[in-house]
């Protein structure tokens, strides 16, 4: 893809579970300073109703001011294809960092993601899609990107099948089984994220690659198991995030505790 609307793409940045990202030149009409922006193009067909809902959700996201959230710039559609643009962070993501991360830096990134989630929750927004690929890195830490918008384009959808289903292992199984999105679901995802950056593995062991349905079944049917690599204090915190919804820590408290680990580890 060479571009969309008045964005000219420079190169692809990768694909998520419901679209593709590109690095693009900033169109003159955007009132921001950066020369380059990130553009996400969604795979789902855009309709008038979906477009209105998507821009409404993005506006709600954009209204949350936090230094830990990626700043959205613009949303639009052309020829039935929906896109939105955000600031571009060159440090890669927790999934594919541009430079290797040490443990304190990785923990700091998780803490920043938790602060971003806290800011969203305070504004009544549930993120729904906290995973390594959405924690974008920059020199001072990390910012959380990409509000899950899949449900906007296919009403009632809890996860979409496009892409590698890479995010399933971060999703609270209760959500997969039909619960409405709640803040506690984001805390579960942050717990799995914390486990991933410290232990290097997920909470379901090694999941079969390329077979989304098997992964889904495993996640829904298997109780999570924490890695023995995890220091006990961190394991205890992860366990709290995976506890029954009412017993999970709130995002701000979680951020503080992860920050303390980051300081202790550095």
């Amino acid at each position: 893809m060479r571009g969309i609307a008045d964005y000219e793409f420079i190169r692809p940045l990768g694909s998520g579970n419901h679209g593709q990202y590109f690095l693009a030149r900033r169109p003159a009409r955007l009132p921001v300073e950066a020369a380059e922006v990130a553009v996400k193009v969604l795979a789902a067909e855009s309709t008038e109703v979906a477009f209105r809902r998507a821009t409404r959700e993005l506006r709600a996201f954009a209204a949350v001011r936090s230094p830990y959230l990626v700043a959205p710039y613009d949303a639009g559609q052309q020829d039935g294809i929906f896109y939105y643009s955000t600031e571009y962070l060159p440090g890669g993501s927790l999934a594919v960092p541009a430079a290797p991360l040490d443990r304190p830096a990785a923990l700091r990134a998780v803490a920043h993601a938790a602060r971003a989630v806290a800011a969203l929750h305070a504004a009544g927004v549930v993120h729904r899609d906290v995973k390594p690929g959405n924690v974008l890195l920059h020199e001072g830490g990390a910012r959380l990107s990409d509000l899950g918008l899949a449900h906007v384009f296919a009403e009632g959808v809890t996860i979409t099948g496009m892409g590698a289903l890479d995010s399933v292992e971060y999703v609270d199984p209760a959500l997969l089984l039909g619960e409405r999105p709640q803040p506690s679901h984001d805390v579960w995802s942050l717990g799995v994220l914390l486990h991933r950056v410290v232990a290097g593995t997920g909470i379901y062991g090694t999941l079969p690659e390329g077979d989304g349905l098997l992964v889904l079944r495993r996640v829904v049917s298997m109780p999570p198991k924490l890695s023995a690599e995890l220091p006990e204090a961190l394991a205890a915190l992860v366990r709290e995030c995976l506890a029954p919804a009412a017993d999970r820590p709130a995002a701000p408290a979680l951020a503080d505790r992860v920050d303390r680990f980051a300081e202790g580890a550095s």
Binding site: R2, L58, G156, I159, G178, R180
Partner: protein, 189 residues
């Protein structure tokens, strides 16, 4: 992925703070109204189908509970898992097909579940999944190629009779054309 026609007109909405756009209207989300059903609460307060012996959320035995049913909002009955890996929450009816939004049921609250990608043998409105009390039903909408029901552990698949809703159990696979979906749930025995 499809390429946009770059010559087509586009519309864009600025999300930058301070942009001259209208403020975010807090429009109500298009959530289905939750139907009330008869159910019982387990010792931990989870609302259950009166027919189940164990709480379907926490697994606690329901045997000790006095089986006085109460009316409560129906929780989601599980999900529909489509062969491309997408899952859809069963808290509303769904019309499944290549152009499901054209079905009149969609105007009355059913959700369109569009089968994207290769859809050989899939009709525009192929089948409808409906919730009835604590059960899930499938009805073929007079599709050209029909709908095959494969109950879990049953080697004998059978065809839905067009227009006749049939209750399906969790784990049942419904095959339509070259595509399929499965009803997954931790609820219901």
């Amino acid at each position: 992925m499809r390429q946009p026609d770059r010559n087509a007109p586009f519309e864009a909405v600025l999300l930058v703070p301070g942009a001259a756009d209208a403020p975010t209207e807090v429009a109500p989300r298009n959530e289905p109204t939750r139907l009330l059903v008869e159910g019982v609460h387990c010792a931990n307060g989870h609302f259950n189908d009166p027919a189940v012996p164990y709480c379907q959320l926490c697994g606690i035995s329901m045997a000790q509970r006095t089986h006085v049913t109460v009316l409560g909002p129906r929780p989601p009955l599980g999900v529909l898992l489509v062969d491309d890996g997408a899952t859809f929450r069963l808290d509303a009816d769904y019309v499944v097909g290549r152009e499901p939004h054209r079905d009149p049921a969609v105007a009355h609250g059913a959700r369109p579940l569009r089968i994207a990608g290769p859809a050989s043998g899939v009709s525009r409105q192929h089948l409808r999944m409906t919730l009835a009390g604590w059960t899930v039903r499938a009805v073929d909408l007079g599709s050209a190629n029909g709908t095959v029901v494969e109950p879990p552990g049953d080697p004998h698949p059978w065809r839905l009779q067009p227009g006749v809703p049939v209750e399906i159990r969790p784990g049942t696979r419904l095959v339509f054309g070259l595509r399929w979906l499965r009803y997954e749930s931790h609820r219901n025995p």
